[in-house]
């Protein structure tokens, strides 16, 4: 057996390898996103900002249901949309992550859960950045968007992020095994946006309906986020962040188990 020149390849622990892969993939994803075309970096920030602006404008135009106890309508909706997009983008970006990185599984170090986690991380960082931009700009033009309880707000933002990561881990594995799931998830996103109370307050709905809508963990995250942003905001009865954590952690565990159980099928070309 020849003595190899470069022993460092062999001496690495699994954790070192994983960290090297994550670092490399993060740089790659970030670079690929920013160099896709000339204005890629611009659209990365401008697209979600513009999307929220358009939604707010449309909703303001339609009017109705504008009275929200304890919060102004526009900031109330911006927070809802940003929170929802945090969840949605984590999920949707991850759905294609395994497929897009199939070529990399030829390197034994890379496993299917890596691109999913990296995309979630990148997406979360970008969305957090956008939230900060929104807060800064709104403050400058005189819309009150400074969180009343910044730490609590951070906690709820983090919770929604984790919910997105959980959903991403689970559904990225499921959608590789059963490709039809991808379509169902995409279709489900718009109804989910409406029943999550993003664009109109669920308080207006009859109580019996609210009870059902509270099955949806996103509602709990968004209401918690709004409570921490607006002092004196009148939230939905029964909103409870622990319920969201129950979902987030269960889905993370389930997703990781799926990724371990079906590792070879997810890797297969």
């Amino acid at each position: 057996m020849p003595i190899s020149v470069n022993q460092s390849l062999r001496l690495r622990t699994p954790w070192q390898i994983t960290r090297a892969v994550w670092y490399a993939m993060f740089m790659r994803e970030a670079l690929a996103r920013t160099t896709a075309d000339r204005f890629a970096w611009f659209w990365m920030l401008a697209e979600p900002i513009a999307l929220v602006a358009v939604m707010v404008y449309i909703r303001a135009f339609i009017r109705g249901g504008r009275h929200i106890t304890g919060a102004d309508f526009v900031p109330w909706m911006i927070i809802g949309l940003l929170g929802f997009f945090l969840f949605r983008e984590n999920l949707q970006r991850s759905l294609g992550a395994i497929e897009a990185n199939k070529g990399l599984f030829a390197y034994r170090q890379v496993i299917p859960v890596d691109p999913v986690l990296i995309r979630c991380f990148l997406e979360g960082v970008l969305k957090s950045f956008i939230l900060l931009i929104y807060i800064a700009v709104c403050e400058l033009i005189g819309i009150q968007l400074m969180p009343a309880n910044p730490l609590i707000a951070l906690y709820h933002w983090w919770a929604l992020w984790c919910l997105g990561i959980g959903a991403a881990l689970t559904l990225s594995a499921v959608s590789e095994l059963v490709p039809d799931v991808k379509h169902v998830v995409r279709i489900a996103m718009l109804p989910l946006l409406i029943i999550s109370g993003v664009i109109f307050p669920l308080n207006y709905l009859p109580y019996w309906l609210q009870e059902y809508l509270l099955w949806n963990p996103i509602v709990h995250g968004l209401e918690g986020l709004r409570l921490s942003f607006f002092d004196g905001y009148r939230s939905l009865d029964g909103a409870n962040i622990t319920y969201l954590w129950f979902w987030a952690l269960s889905m993370m565990a389930l997703g990781l188990m799926l990724h371990i159980r079906f590792l070879h099928r997810l890797k297969a070309q």
Binding site: R28, Y107, R108, K267
Partner: protein, 226 residues
């Protein structure tokens, strides 16, 4: 040393599936270069993928106690919008982190000889240029065993000769496992051979025996067909 014990492989599809490889038992010594021969569809590439760990056997076990490369010349992992240099950086980081990264990049750059194009997006490359970078990338890392799946068949004459020369320089330090239909290349680079036939694998200490058995069998088959 790479050892395969009771390895079975099949690909599941909608139309049933036959075993591609059946009960393969092989011990491939670390310092011997091996040529894989067999007709199309005999499972040469599948066996190579199993050895490289890109795929897992349906049954059985593959053990590697040396560093095995990915198939040389593999370009599937390239990200089109990133430059050749950035792609090399990525693979380097996966394999050994940031240390020695510059050395790896320099080696690939000198081997590939594609000039300024090294800093252009990979999607602007011709297939030959891609092959040069991909090939250089495999050689930039020190592996004990290099896997090659028809890799020497790409590129122009000069590059092909350069590739074979690069392989020959590695003999002694590292070994090769090659899938190729170009028999002169196999004869030139390999000592031992494996003949894949009807799901089974036969080991030969001399690659010429493997080739002659393979030829005999295929000419017999041809006659039987006529």
């Amino acid at each position: 040393m790479i050892s395969l014990s009771n390895v079975y492989k099949r690909y599941l599809g909608h139309h049933g599936s036959d075993w591609v490889l059946r009960d393969i038992n092989l011990d491939i010594p670390g310092n011997v270069s091996v040529g894989l021969v067999g007709r199309n569809g005999a499972g040469k590439s599948t066996l190579l993928r199993l050895i490289g760990g890109m795929d897992t056997p349906t049954k059985g076990e593959v053990r590697r106690d040396c560093r095995v490369s990915w198939p040389i010349g593999l370009a599937g992992g390239f990200q089109g919008s990133m430059s050749g240099r950035q792609n090399v950086k990525f693979v380097g980081r996966i394999h050994q982190g940031d240390q020695g990264l510059d050395e790896i990049i320099r080696r690939v750059e000198t081997f590939a000889e594609i000039g300024k194009a090294f800093d252009k997006p990979v999607k602007t490359y011709s297939s030959g240029m891609r092959a040069r970078v991909a090939f250089g990338m495999s050689l930039a890392f020190e592996f004990d065993v290099y896997l090659s799946d028809e890799a020497t068949a790409v590129g122009d004459q000069i590059f092909r000769r350069k590739a074979i020369k690069a392989f020959k320089e590695r003999v002694g330090r590292s070994s090769l496992i090659i899938v190729s239909h170009a028999e002169n290349i196999i004869k030139e680079l390999c000592q031992a051979g494996i003949w894949l036939n009807e799901g089974g694998a036969q080991w030969y200490d001399d690659v010429n025996d493997a080739l002659s058995d393979y030829h005999e069998y295929s000419s017999l088959n041809q006659e039987a067909g006529q």
